[in-house]
C-alpha cells in the first residue's frame, strides 16, 4: 500500500482550480473559508427573509408550519456553524501566522483537510433541501421531538451527520491553531506580547477542542437512537430527553463564546490603530478572555431554567451567569479606555468596531435580565431571547467580522474596499439591525413565543413584527452594498503595505503577502511590534515606508501543495453520506479515508522540482 500511495507526486501547480484544491497555504485557505462563509451568509439571510415575510402580518398564509420550522432551523444552524464559525476560522487562518511572525500554521495539510471536511459537512446538511427532508426541530433539536415517531423523515439525520462531519473539521482546525500559537511564535514574542486577536484565537481553539467532543457524543447518540434502535433520549424506553439538553448546552454555551471571542479579538486589534494609542489594559483584556473561557463551562443550565431543575440548581446557575457578566464588562471598559484621549479616525473598520461595542452592550444588558432566573421564567422561549441572541451574534460577532474584513482586506488583496460604500454599508447595517431586532425585545415581553409560524392580530404583535420585517429589507440592502463593494475592488488601485499605520507584524510585509510571509523571521521586542519598529526608524531619521523586501521564493522552503487533504476529506464525507443513503458507501468512504491517510503519511516532503 505504501508503495502505491507513495508514488503520487506532489502537485506542482499553484494556479487554477487545482491550485486551490490542493493548496496548503494558510492565506488561500483563509480565502476559501471566507468565500464559503459569505455564500452561506447569503443563504442563511434569505432564509431569514422568508421567516420575516411570513411573520410580517398576523394570520399570514405565505407559508405553512412545516416549511417555517425547516427554515428557522436551517437559518440558525447555517448562521452559527456555516457563517460565524468559518468567518472566525478564516480570520484565524489569515491573521494568526502573520501576526506571530510565522510562515504558515503548524500543520498546513491538516489545515486544508479541516476546510474540505467543513465544506463537505455543510454540503451534506444542505443536501437535505434537495431530497426535501429538511431538519425542522430548531438549531438545538431538543429530544425527544427528534426521535421516532415524532420525526419520521431523514431531516434530523442530515442535521446530525452534517454537524458530526463539520465537528471533525472544527476540532482538527482548532488543534492546529493551539499548536501553531504555542510553538510558532517569532523569537521574542512571549505570551504576554501576543496580539489580543491571537490570544482570543488560542482561547477559542481550546474551547473548540474541549466543547465539540461533547456535542459529538450527543449527536452520535441521537443518530444511533434514530437509526440503530438505541434509546438514549426516548422516555418511553427508559431514556431521558433532558440528557440531550445537558449535552447540547455543555457544548452550546462554550460555543457562544467560541462565536464571540474572535470578534472581541478583532476589535481589540482595531481600536488601538484608529485611536492612535496602545490598547488600554492589555493584561486585563487577555485575562478577562481567559476567565470567560473558563467560566463559560459553568453556566450552561441558564439555557434550561424552565426545564424544572429546581431552585437549588437554578440558584447556582443564576449566580455563575451573573458573574460572567463581570469579565465581559471589563473588556468594554478597556475598549472605551483605549478610545479615551485618543485621536479617533472614523474608517469603516473602526465604525464597525464601535458599532460592535454599542450593540454588544445592549445584548449584554438584556442577557443580565434573563440570567436572573425568576424573570427568565417569563422571557425564556420568547422573542426577548431572539432579540438578545441577535444583539450578541449579529451586533457582536457579525459586526466584529465586518470590522475585520474592512481592516484586513488591504493586507489580503493589496486593494482597499471603498470607504464611502463601506460607510453606507455600516449605516444600513446599523440601522437595519436595530430596526429588526430592537422591537423583538418588546414582542417577547408582550408574550410572543419563539418558533411560532403564525399569530393572531388580537395579540397586538403585528406592528412590531412589521417593523422587524422592514428592518430586514434594510439589512438585505446593506449586504448587497457589501457584495458590490467587494466586486468593485477588482478595478481598484493598489495601496501601500500599511495603509492604516497599524501596529501588528502582519503590516510590516508586502500586500498581498508573499507565499513565505516573512523573508526573515522577525525578532519581537514588545507588544505592538510594528509600531516599535516604525518609531525607532523615525527617531533614526529613516522612516519605514517600504514593506520587507521580497526574495526569490525558491530560496525559502515552503510546504508543497498536496492532493491528500481533499482526497481524505472526500472519504470522511462519504462515511457520513453513506449513513444517509446506503451503508456500503460508508465503507467505501472509510476505505478512501484510510488510503488518504496512508498516502498522506508516505507523501514526499517536497514537489519533484525541489529534489535537489
Amino acid at each position: 500500500m505504501a508503495a502505491i500511495t507513495g508514488v503520487l507526486a506532489r502537485p506542482t501547480s499553484y494556479a487554477g482550480i487545482w491550485g486551490w484544491m490542493t493548496t496548503v497555504d494558510h492565506k488561500r485557505i483563509a480565502v476559501l473559508y471566507g468565500v464559503t462563509a459569505v455564500i452561506f451568509l447569503l443563504i442563511g439571510g434569505v432564509e431569514a427573509g422568508f421567516l420575516r415575510m411570513q411573520l410580517a402580518s398576523a394570520d399570514n398564509d405565505f407559508m405553512g408550519p412545516a416549511r417555517f420550522n425547516q427554515l428557522f432551523t436551517m437559518h440558525a444552524t447555517t448562521m452559527i456553524f456555516m457563517v460565524i464559525m468559518p468567518l472566525s476560522v478564516s480570520f484565524f487562518n489569515f491573521v494568526v501566522p502573520l501576526a506571530i511572525g510565522a510562515r504558515d500554521v503548524a500543520f498546513p495539510r491538516l489545515n486544508a483537510l479541516s476546510y474540505w471536511i467543513f465544506l463537505f459537512g455543510a454540503l451534506i446538511m444542505h443536501m437535505s433541501f434537495l431530497v426535501g427532508q429538511v431538519p425542522d426541530a430548531g438549531w438545538f433539536s431538543y429530544a425527544n421531538l427528534t426521535e421516532k415517531p415524532f420525526s419520521i423523515d431523514r431531516g434530523l439525520d442530515y442535521w446530525a451527520i452534517g454537524l458530526l462531519v463539520m465537528g471533525a473539521a472544527s476540532v482538527a482546525g482548532a488543534l492546529n491553531f493551539v499548536v501553531t500559537i504555542i510553538n510558532m511564535r517569532a523569537p521574542g514574542m512571549s505570551m504576554m506580547r501576543m496580539p489580543v486577536f491571537v490570544w482570543m484565537t488560542l482561547i477559542t481553539s481550546i474551547l473548540l477542542v474541549l466543547a465539540f467532543p461533547v456535542i459529538t457524543v450527543g449527536l452520535i447518540e441521537l443518530t444511533m437512537d434514530r437509526n440503530f434502535g438505541t434509546h438514549f433520549f426516548i422516555p418511553a424506553e427508559g431514556g431521558d430527553p433532558i440528557l440531550w439538553q445537558h449535552l447540547f448546552w455543555v457544548f452550546g454555551h462554550p460555543e457562544v463564546y467560541i462565536l464571540i471571542l474572535p470578534a472581541m479579538g478583532i476589535v481589540s486589534e482595531i481600536f488601538p490603530v484608529f485611536s492612535g494609542k496602545p490598547l488600554f489594559g492589555y493584561p486585563f483584556i487577555v485575562f478577562s478572555g481567559i476567565v470567560i473561557g473558563i467560566m463559560g463551562w459553568a453556566v450552561w443550565s441558564h439555557h434550561m431554567f424552565t426545564v424544572g431543575l429546581g431552585p437549588v440548581a437554578n440558584s447556582v446557575f443564576t449566580i455563575t451567569t451573573m458573574l460572567i457578566a463581570v469579565p465581559t464588562g471589563v473588556k468594554i471598559f478597556n475598549w472605551i479606555g483605549t478610545l479615551w484621549r485618543g485621536a479617533i479616525e472614523f474608517t469603516t473598520a473602526m465604525m464597525f468596531a464601535l458599532g460592535f461595542i454599542a450593540l454588544f452592550i445592549i445584548g449584554g444588558l438584556s442577557g443580565i435580565s434573563h440570567a436572573i432566573s425568576p424573570s427568565d421564567f417569563q422571557q425564556q422561549d420568547t422573542y426577548y431571547i431572539v432579540a438578545h441572541i441577535h444583539y450578541v451574534l449579529f451586533g457582536g460577532s457579525i459586526f466584529g467580522a465586518f470590522a475585520g474584513l474592512y481592516y484586513w482586506y488591504p493586507k489580503l488583496t493589496g486593494k482597499m474596499l471603498d470607504e464611502t460604500l463601506g460607510k453606507l454599508n455600516f449605516w444600513l447595517m446599523f440601522i437595519g439591525m436595530n430596526l429588526t431586532f430592537f422591537p423583538m425585545h418588546f414582542l417577547g415581553l408582550n408574550g410572543m413565543p419563539r418558533r411560532i409560524y403564525t399569530y393572531t392580530a388580537e395579540f397586538g404583535w403585528e406592528n412590531l413584527n412589521r417593523l422587524a420585517s422592514l428592518g430586514y429589507i434594510v439589512l438585505f440592502f446593506a449586504f448587497l452594498v457589501f457584495i458590490y463593494n467587494l466586486w468593485q475592488t477588482r478595478n481598484s488601485r493598489r495601496v501601500s503595505h500599511d495603509p492604516w499605520d497599524a501596529l501588528g507584524l502582519e503590516w510590516s510585509i508586502a500586500s498581498p503577502p508573499p507565499a513565505y510571509n516573512f523573508a526573515e523571521i522577525p525578532q519581537v521586542e514588545g507588544l505592538d511590534q510594528y509600531w516599535i519598529m516604525k518609531e525607532r526608524a523615525r527617531a533614526a531619521g529613516t522612516p519605514l515606508t517600504e514593506p520587507e523586501a521580497l526574495v526569490d521564493p525558491s530560496s525559502i522552503h515552503m510546504p508543497s501543495p498536496s492532493y491528500w487533504p481533499i482526497f481524505t476529506a472526500v472519504g470522511v464525507a462519504l462515511i457520513g453520506g453513506g449513513l444517509l443513503s446506503h451503508y456500503a458507501i460508508s465503507f467505501l468512504g472509510g476505505a478512501i479515508a484510510m488510503i488518504g491517510v496512508i498516502g498522506w503519511g508516505n507523501e514526499p516532503a517536497a514537489a519533484p522540482s525541489e529534489h535537489h
Binding site: F284, G308, P311, I319, L339, Q380, R451
Partner: protein, 397 residues
C-alpha cells in the same frame, strides 16, 4: 378562516400600573439626562402600553407573576441606567476624541490598575446584589405559602397539540378531566403537576406565572394563584396561555385558556360536569354518530377510563393510520369557550367548520390524520349527521 381568539366581555387591557410607577430617573438634576430618561420611558410606554395584549408579561394577576415582574422591573431600570451611562461615555469619547486635522499622536497610555479594580468591583457588587435577590425569589415562589388556603391540585398533561387538565378532587371528591380550558377558583393556590405523554411542551400563563416545561417522565411541579385584588374586572376572567417549547408542526396553534371564577361558580361548574343529555331525537341521532365515529379517541361521559387512555397512548406511539390517539375529553363541551386548543371561539359555525376540515384550521392535527372518517380526504359524514353531532356535542335542544 376563523383563527381569531377573542376577548371575554368585561376583560379589557389595563394601562400598565407597574410601568408608570417604576422609577424613571426624574431625580436626576441634569436637564438633558431627564430628557433622555423621558424619551426612553415614553418609548417603553409606547411599546408596552399601545401594543398591550393578553399574553403580555407587563401585568401580573397573582403573587408568582408579581414577584417575577418586580424583579424584572428593577433589573430593567437598572439596565436602562447602565445603558445610558456606558453608551453615553462611549458616545462622549467618540465625539470628544475624534481626530482633528494635523493632530499629533496622542499620549501613549497603557492602562490604569486602580481604575480597572474599581470598574471590576462595581459591576460585581451590582450583579451579585441582583443574583442574591433572585435566589430569594426563586425559593419564595417555589411552593405555595404553607399558611394559606389548601391548594387545588390539577394534573396537566401536554399532548401534541393540546392540553389536558385533570382535577383529582375538584370538590366533594369529584374527579374531572377536561381539555384546553383550566377553570380555577380565585384567591386559592393552584398546585399544578405537569406531565407530557409525547414530546416536551411548556406551560405558560404569562399573567399568572412564568413558564415551566412539561417533560415526559419528569413530574414538574409549579403553582400559581389569581388574586381578586389584582384583577379589576368582574369574574369570571379569561386569561391566555400558550405552549412555549417547540413541540412539532402545530406548536404555534397549541393555546389554552385559564378561566378565573368565584369559588361558588367554580363549584356549580364542578357539579354540572357530566355527559350531554339525549332527550331530543336530534341529540339521540348525534349520540349515535358520535358513538360510531368518535369514541375510539374521545370520551364524552365523564373522566377517561385510565386503561382506555393507556391504550390510546400506545396506539399513538406505535403510529400508523387509523390507530387511536389521546384526544381531548369532550365531556361538558357546551361549557367551553374555545375550540381546537384555544384557537377560536366555540360556536355551531366554528364547530361545523372544524368537523368539515380540521386540517385547514390546524395543520398537522392527528384527527384528520388518523380518524377513519377523514381517510378519504374529506369528512365522510353527511350534513345531517354533522348537524346532529353538533347538536349533541353542544347540547342544543
Amino acid at each position: 378562516m376563523g383563527l381569531l381568539p377573542f376577548r371575554r366581555e368585561g376583560y379589557l387591557a389595563k394601562p400598565s400600573a407597574s410601568i408608570s410607577s417604576a422609577p424613571t430617573g426624574r431625580r436626576s438634576s441634569l436637564k438633558n439626562r431627564t430628557v433622555l430618561f423621558g424619551l426612553i420611558a415614553a418609548l417603553f410606554l409606547f411599546a408596552t402600553g399601545c401594543f398591550k395584549d393578553d399574553m403580555s408579561t407587563w401585568e401580573a394577576f397573582g403573587p408568582v407573576a408579581q414577584s417575577q415582574l418586580d424583579l424584572f422591573n428593577v433589573t430593567m431600570w437598572l439596565m436602562v441606567v447602565v445603558f445610558f451611562l456606558v453608551e453615553g461615555v462611549l458616545l462622549y469619547a467618540i465625539i470628544r476624541y475624534r481626530k482633528r486635522p494635523g493632530q499629533p499622536r496622542p499620549p501613549q497610555t497603557h492602562g490604569n490598575t486602580t481604575l480597572e479594580i474599581v470598574l471590576t468591583i462595581i459591576p460585581t457588587i451590582l450583579v451579585m446584589g441582583l443574583g442574591i435577590w433572585s435566589v430569594f425569589v426563586l425559593f419564595e415562589i417555589d411552593k405555595p405559602p404553607s399558611d394559606g388556603p389548601t391548594p387545588l391540585e390539577v394534573n396537566v398533561t401536554g399532548h401534541q397539540w393540546w392540553f389536558e387538565f385533570e382535577y383529582p378532587d375538584a370538590g366533594n371528591g369529584k374527579k374531572i378531566i377536561t381539555a384546553n380550558e383550566l377553570r380555577i377558583p380565585v384567591d386559592r393556590p393552584i398546585q399544578l403537576n405537569l406531565f407530557s405523554d409525547d414530546v416536551i411542551h411548556s406551560f405558560w400563563v404569562p399573567k399568572l406565572a412564568g413558564k415551566l416545561d412539561m417533560v415526559p417522565t419528569h413530574n414538574n411541579k409549579m403553582w400559581f394563584q389569581a388574586d381578586s385584588d389584582k384583577i379589576d374586572e368582574d369574574l369570571p376572567v379569561t386569561l391566555f396561555g400558550q405552549c412555549a417549547e417547540l413541540c412539532g408542526i402545530a406548536h404555534a396553534l397549541m393555546r389554552f385558556r385559564v378561566i378565573v371564577m368565584e369559588q361558588a361558580d367554580f363549584d356549580s361548574w364542578v357539579a354540572g360536569y357530566g355527559p350531554p343529555p339525549t332527550i331530543t331525537d336530534k341529540a339521540k341521532k348525534g349520540a349515535q354518530v358520535f358513538a360510531a365515529n368518535c369514541t375510539l379517541c374521545h370520551t364524552i361521559d365523564g373522566p377517561d377510563d385510565p386503561a382506555l387512555s393507556a391504550s390510546r397512548l400506545a396506539g399513538f406511539l406505535t403510529g400508523g393510520d387509523i390507530t387511536p390517539v389521546p384526544a381531548p375529553n369532550l365531556t361538558d363541551l357546551r361549557t367551553r369557550q374555545t375550540l381546537a386548543a384555544g384557537l377560536m371561539e366555540l360556536s355551531e359555525t366554528t364547530l361545523s367548520n372544524w368537523l368539515h376540515d380540521p386540517e385547514d384550521i390546524k395543520p398537522g392535527n392527528y384527527m384528520s390524520a388518523r380518524a377513519v372518517l377523514y381517510q378519504s380526504g374529506s369528512v365522510s359524514l353527511d350534513e345531517e349527521e354533522i348537524d346532529a353531532l353538533i347538536g349533541y356535542l353542544l347540547d342544543l335542544r
